[in-house]
Symmetry: C2
Subunit: 209 residues, 2 copies
DNA sequence: ACGGTAATACCTCAATTGAGGGATTTGAAC
DNA sequence: GTTCAAATCCCTCAATTGAGGTATTACCGT
C-alpha cells in the first residue's frame, strides 16, 4: 500500500513541485499539502498520514510548533523536517519536539525518497551534516576547567550540586565546616555567581560536575 | 587518494573478510587491522588513518575505551563503531567517547562502503534503528508532572532552578515574598527533598524544569 | 630562599532560608 | 450549597548561608 504523506510548506512552487514529484510515483501518496501549520493537529487526525514533511520557516505557527502539534495528535505519524536551517538552536528544538528526521532542502530527490522509506521503516533519516551535529552534541566537551577551579573546589562543588549543606559536605570530605565555607566563598566568584543556588544551577546546566 | 582505514575486530575471520573486501576496491586502503585496542593510540599516531572501524566486544580494552584512545590520540580520525550491540547503554557511551558513526554488523557491504565515504565527508553514518534511538533520546518524555506540582509551584521551581532567591522570585511573579515561601514549603515535600538546593539538583537532573 | 597557590581553620554580622503555625479568596467539583 | 484544591498573604524562631575578614601549613617553581 502506498505511503500516505502530508506536506507543510509555505513556498507554493516548492510545495507543488514536491507534491507532483511524490505523486508521480505509485509508492507514495500525497494526501494533503498546506502552506502553514494552523490546523496541523486536526489535519493529522483526519488524514492519518504515515509521514509529514515539515518546513520550519512558515507564517503563523512555525514548523517547530508544527512537529509538536502533529506528534501530539498522532504519535505514529513520522515527521521529517525539510528546511534550509542548519543551526543547532532550531535543530535541537525540532528533535526535542519529536521530529523523526531532518533533511536539508539541498537534499536530492532520490535521497528524499529514500528518507521517506527509511522513516516509515523505523529509521531516522538525517542529512550528513545534521547527523554529525547530533552526534557531536553527545561529547560533553570535557569542560576542561573553564572556571579554574582547584581539585578541592571541584569536589566541594560536586557535593553541593547534590544538594548537600556545608555541614554535610564537611562530613563527606572529612574537613571542617568552616573550611567548606571558605571553599564556597572562593568558588562563587570563579563561577561568576553570588550564592550556592546559582552555583548549583550553573554547575548542573553546564555539566561542570 | 585512497581512504586509509584501520580495523579493530577480535573475530579473525570477520577481520580478514573486511580487510579483503575493502582492499579489493581501489577507493579504500586498509593500512592495519588488529584483534584488540591495546595499542590503539600509538597505532593511530603512526598510521594516521582517515577512518577506524571499531568493534565493541573485544578482549582486554573494549571498543568503548578504544574510541576514546583513538580520538584522544588523533581527533581527525573518524571512528565508526561496527558491532552487534543495539542497547542504549553501550550506544551512548560510544557517542560520548566521540564515535562518528555507529553501524550494526548486519549492515550490507554496500551500505558499509557508503558509510565510510560519508564519514570522511563529515557525516555521521548510523544504522536506521540506531539513528532512531539517538533522536528519541532528545524527547525528554515531558515528565508529565510525576510529582504533582501545581502550575504555580512549577513556575516557582523553574525560577528557583535559575538560582533566584525567594525575594527575586516574588518580584518576577508579582506576588509577595511570603507567598513564594509558602509555595516552596509545599514544593519540597512533593519532591521528597528538604531544602532549595536539593530541589534545584532534582529539578535540573530530572529535567522537571 | 622566596613568592605563589592550595588547603586548612576560625570569627563576626546580616540576610536568607526551613519549620512550624494560621488565614483568606476563588473557582471548580459534587 | 458545601467541599476541596490552588493561590494568596502574614508571623515567629532557629539554622544556614553570604560577606567580610585573618591565619597557618605545605608544596611547587625559580
Amino acid at each position: 500500500m502506498a505511503i500516505r504523506i502530508i506536506i507543510f510548506e509555505d513556498n507554493e512552487r516548492l510545495r507543488n513541485s514536491l507534491s507532483y514529484l511524490l505523486r508521480s510515483m505509485p509508492e507514495y501518496d500525497v494526501v494533503g499539502d498546506y502552506p502553514n501549520c494552523r490546523d496541523a493537529a486536526s489535519i493529522t487526525l483526519t488524514l492519518q498520514p504515515d509521514v509529514a514533511l515539515m518546513d520550519i520557516d512558515m507564517p503563523g505557527e512555525n514548523g517547530i510548533k508544527g512537529v509538536g502539534m502533529v506528534k501530539e495528535a498522532r504519535p505514529e505519524t513520522a515527521v521529517i523536517m525539510y528546511t534550509v536551517f542548519e543551526d543547532d538552536e532550531k535543530l535541537f528544538q525540532c528533535l526535542c519536539a519529536g521530529a523523526n528526521g531532518y533533511l536539508l532542502k539541498k537534499t536530492p530527490p532520490d535521497k528524499l525518497f529514500e528518507a521517506i522509506r527509511e522513516v516509515v521503516d523505523g529509521g531516522a533519516p538525517m542529512s550528513p551534516s545534521i547527523a554529525r551535529r547530533v552526534l557531536n552534541s553527545f561529547q560533553h566537551a570535557k569542560t576542561e576547567n573553564k572556571y579554574q577551579l582547584s581539585t578541592r573546589e571541584l569536589e566541594v562543588l560536586q557535593l553541593l550540586s547534590k544538594g548537600f549543606s556545608a555541614k554535610v559536605i564537611a562530613g563527606e570530605l572529612n574537613i571542617s565546616f568552616e573550611t567548606v565555607r571558605s571553599h564556597l566563598k572562593n568558588i562563587y566568584p570563579k563561577l561568576h555567581v553570588n550564592c550556592g543556588k546559582e552555583a548549583i544551577a550553573k554547575a548542573l546546566s553546564e555539566r561542570i560536575v
